[in-house]
Subunit: 311 residues, 2 copies
């Protein structure tokens, strides 16, 4: 079945912008042109594709076609770039390729920038933080074409690749470690010590406590700090203890600003690269860069066996 590129773009614009009016503005056409294109597309496939709600939401069938729209756009731009010699950075960018990618916050603030620092000049990044929306949803509805995520379950239409594991250490300011953990590392001690979590979905601290104590225990004194730099800064300032990526913690441990609560004990969280099952030079190049940067910064993960939780 052949699809009309303008119709697919209209659908994608309505879903991404949230309304027919905003889509029309972005596409520089009238709202009624947008409406006609989507109706024509819905007649072609014989299904409703977008719910006329506020904001507009795609149906399941609509999601498939929004993803298709993004894939076709990328393929078209990649083809253009191969037809015309790639323009240097000093040209206006009608044919520049935008890469929408979701990245989990700890990767974003540690190793991921190295993967994309030297992108070709005609490629533009559009990064999303995974803690704002689930990367699976963003992949499914076509908002992003790839994601760095701890979620190993392949999204329909996507391929999954292991990147390695991010290692987390349990750390605190030295004087706080001495004060809070003077009586050892029992359940009572953890129940009384203040700790930091990224947000309510962040279960790393509880997993660490369970791995040390040997069972799940309650940790009622939780501060929620959803920013990696604020998180590390407040652990250093002594507000609580917390799980910090080894790559961020190591220099602070060397400088004596942080100490491990229990040296040698860590959590390894495997990370995955999920991307559209689509071969284009731009996406292949990005995958290669991400895999290379991850191999330098992350720990190797064994192919089989349960997630590692102890050192």
């Amino acid at each position: 079945m052949a699809f009309d590129g303008d119709q697919l773009s209209a659908l994608a614009a309505v879903v991404h912008e949230g309304s027919f009016d905003a889509a029309a503005q972005r596409l520089h056409v009238t709202p009624s042109a947008v409406s006609q294109r989507i109706k024509a597309l819905e007649q072609q496939v014989g299904r409703v594709l977008v719910l006329r709600t506020r904001p507009c939401r795609p149906t399941d069938d609509g999601e498939v076609l929004v993803r298709l729209a993004g894939q076709m756009e990328l393929l078209g731009r990649d083809a253009m770039a191969q037809l015309v010699p790639a323009p240097g950075a000093s040209r206006a960018a009608p044919s520049s390729r935008r890469l929408p990618v979701a990245v989990n916050d700890d990767s974003m603030s540690t190793w991921f920038p190295a993967a994309v620092a030297d992108l070709p000049a005609d490629v533009l990044l559009d990064l999303r933080r995974e803690d704002q929306e689930l990367s699976a949803d963003l992949l499914r509805d076509g908002t992003v074409m790839a994601a760095v995520t701890a979620d190993p379950r392949a999204v329909q239409g996507c391929r999954v690749r292991r990147l390695g594991a991010m290692r987390y250490l349990a750390v605190a300011a030295p004087d706080r470690r001495d004060r809070w953990f003077a009586d050892g590392l029992g359940a009572e001690v953890f129940a009384a010590a203040p700790l930091l979590a990224f947000n309510r979905e962040d279960g790393l601290q509880e997993r660490f406590v369970a791995s040390v104590v040997g069972r799940r225990t309650t940790t009622p004194h939780v501060h929620y700090v959803p920013s990696q730099s604020a998180f590390v800064g407040l652990v250093e300032a002594g507000l609580g203890w917390g799980m910090v990526p080894e790559v961020a913690a190591a220099p602070l441990i060397s400088a004596g600003a942080l100490v491990e609560i229990r040296a040698g004990r860590h959590l390894d969280v495997p990370l995955y690269w999920q991307h559209w099952a689509l071969r284009t030079p731009t996406l292949d190049d990005l995958t290669e860069r991400v895999v290379r940067a991850a191999a330098k910064a992350l720990r190797p993960v064994r192919r089989h066996g349960p997630p590692s939780t102890a050192g």
Copy 2:
């Protein structure tokens, strides 16, 4: 009109958790108990308070009562803390007071941690990033009791206080500045130079360009990087130029890792402390800490006149 504390808590739990079932879990009661409390409250005020959607949403009247619930909870806990001597950090925390506060990302990753690093041990932080939801919405529906925001418009039921201005510098890696801006700072040059923006709502870069060029111009080569540390790291790595808070840029400029695109030219963005119009010791103490930390880190703002856009 006297309100029932359990009924208000049930309403707040449904709005914050998104469903009657999740609210019931949090409150350790049955879903039907939650439903009965909310029906009783709706009968008392004669209005629908919560829409039974997925997730459940408060009506306008519901928002007023959710805010009331949060305020009454805080007042009650503050009263408890005054009745009973404040427990040390080493006690379980039935009476610990949770402070939900929205903070804009650049403040979160620079000066704000210093404001809250030494909170009393029985106060727990619940920080939210303002870029995820507008702080006005979070204040209105009672999710947060205070916010650091660039929005000067007082939310109903809140007080606004100026904190000072965050100064932003336009910076790039030295070799990139030499390459991209060799021909001066005209509209053509800015149209060709790649730049970083935090997200689509981030208009700082465009404002800087307009202030230098003298009119609005297009800057098509935009990378979106919604993480302060990744943003600075990628500017340093040479992906594009961008507006970076002076407090974050200054050490990198001293170290020779970044240079200003135009020395002495900056943008000052006034920041405000919006908080519930409610006097409690916990909130007063937090306000004092925030104002003190802001005074150290931010620039003074003149009381009158338009926002400063040039140096």
